[in-house]
Structure formats: C-alpha cells, structure tokens
C-alpha cells in the first residue's frame, strides 16, 4: 500500500468513518510486526508490540495533527513500545556498538593484479545477481540475516529509511537523533549489509564451482 492510501485511511478514520478501521489495522499491524520482529528478534514479542502500538495509536489518534504524517507517527509509537518491550525482555538490548567504516569497505587483493598494473578490490561478482532476484526467498533470507546481525542503532535506521522508505528527517524524528547521525548510521548499516551479502555471494560462487 502506498503512503497516499495510508494517509487517506487515516483521514477517514479521523473523520469517524469506521469502514476504514479494518484496512488500517491489517496494514499497519503487518508493518509494525515486521519492524519489531527484526528489532526484537522474537515472533511473540513482535505480535505484542504490534497490538500495543495499535492500541496507543487509536488512544492518541486525535493527536495526529496531519494525516500526511501517519506512517512516521505510528512508527515513532512502535519504536517506543519496542524499546520498552526490549528493556523488560530477557533479550535485553546490548550496549550501543559502533561499526567502523574501515572494516566495512573492501581491501585490495594483492594477489590479483589488474591488466593495467593496478590492484583489484576484493569483491564478489554482483553482475550475476539479476534484478528479479529481489523477489527470491533465498536473498530475502540472507538480507534478513544481514539486518539481524547489525547493532541495534544501525538496524533501526536501515529498517526505517530503506525498508519503510521514510525520509531522513522522519527517521531522525522517530529515533530522536540528528539528521547527521541518521546519515552516518544509514551509510554504515548499508555497507555492513552489502558486506554480508557480498560474502554470501562469494560463497555461493565457490559452491557452484565445486
């Protein structure tokens, strides 16, 4: 569902049109479930976060001044519910861990010299990854694994910015950090995901060569 449709549903709900209720619930429940499942790591926790977020959403719905902002508004509630849940959980969040930029960029492969005498950067052959592979379960599973291995402060940024396609400003508002912090974390998160997938691609090429 695109954002315009979400805005329309929010507008109708605010106007008291109860017919929009089930569609709104179904849509946002799935979205919050996926976000919190990747954030909390536990399916049951994610189901509870989704329900609690929707409760808070409806309880406070009249505070939503601008229906255009419904997605970031709901996600800000979800982020807080998720955080509370994580604090109470035995799977409490680990202390914030920083990713170093140097560790995320490829090194040069000194064994493989280019024809022009330059050295070749170690990297998998991504040209073999067809665009429609985006839909393949295997890559989605790998992507999920990559996201799960990210430290939390990076995971939340990539989930909101790239997966939920919220803007830098909206992501900064939800996470209560500056836009510069969002940009830095987003870049490192993307590099870490790329590195994870690159490793998997290289392994699958090796397996195919056997």
């Amino acid at each position: 569902m695109d954002r315009q449709l979400e805005v329309e549903l929010a507008r109708r709900l605010l106007a008291g049109e109860a017919q929009a209720f089930d569609r709104f619930v179904e849509h946002f429940r799935a979205k919050i479930f996926h976000y919190s499942w990747l954030m909390c790591g536990q399916r049951e926790d994610a189901e509870e976060v989704a329900q609690e977020t929707l409760m808070k959403t409806f309880e406070n719905f009249r505070q939503l001044q601008d229906p255009e902002r419904v997605r970031p508004w709901v996600f800000r509630i979800a982020k807080n519910v998720c955080l509370t849940k994580r604090r109470r959980s035995i799977f409490a969040p680990a202390p914030a861990q920083e990713l170093s930029l140097d560790a995320l960029v490829p090194s040069r492969d000194s064994r493989a010299g280019g024809r022009d005498g330059s050295m070749k950067i170690e990297i998998a052959d991504w040209s073999h990854l067809p665009e429609d592979l985006v839909l393949k379960t295997e890559m989605m599973n790998e992507l999920q694994a990559a996201i799960r291995t990210l430290p939390e402060i990076y995971r939340s940024v990539i989930l909101l910015r790239d997966m939920e396609q919220l803007s830098i400003t909206e992501t900064a508002h939800i996470l209560e950090v500056s836009e510069d912090v969002v940009k830095t974390r987003l870049h490192r998160a993307r590099l870490a995901v790329r590195k994870h997938l690159d490793g998997r691609l290289r392994n699958s090429v090796k397996e195919m060569a056997r």
Partner: protein, 91 residues
C-alpha cells in the same frame, strides 16, 4: 599506505556513497566523485554492489505474516478507536 588497502581517494569515495546514491551530494562533490569513478573500475564495481544491496532492502518482502488478529484483540482496538472519537466529540 599498506599494500592491501584502498587508496585514500577510494576511501573518500566509499565514505560519500550513500549520499551519492540518494542524490544528496552537492553538484561539486558529485562531479569530483564521478571523476574518480571514471578512472577507477574497482570503485565502480563497489558502487554497483552497494546500489544493488540498497535495492534489495527497498524491495524487501518479508515471508512471514503475523498470526490472524483474534476477535478479542480486534474488539480491544475498536473500542479504543470508538473511545477516541467520543472523547473528541466531548472536547
């Protein structure tokens, strides 16, 4: 520079890639970055791999759905919605 490390220029490119791919770099920085890319095939390869990785994230479709919403849970939400509407009318 160690033999197995990318050049300083490549590192500068790596640091600016997200902004480049999100079209958020200033025209001058963008031009500088593209000038480097024209002479550095490994960096082009790296940019492409990052672009594809970001595309994968944007096209992410989770395989698992939440369990169907139970009647009680739906009722709870609907009550909260109705209560909010009533409170607004009273206000």
């Amino acid at each position: 520079m160690k033999a197995n490390e990318p050049s300083e220029q490549c590192k500068e490119v790596f640091a600016a890639l997200s902004e480049y791919l999100d079209l958020e770099l200033s025209p001058a920085s963008c031009e500088e970055l593209e000038a480097h890319l024209r002479g550095c095939p490994p960096c082009i390869e790296f940019v492409e791999s990052l672009r594809k990785s970001i595309d994968l994230c944007r096209g992410y479709s989770p395989g698992e759905l939440p369990k169907a919403l139970g009647e009680e849970a739906r009722h709870e939400l609907h009550e909260a919605y109705k209560k909010m509407l009533l409170a607004r009318e009273d206000h």
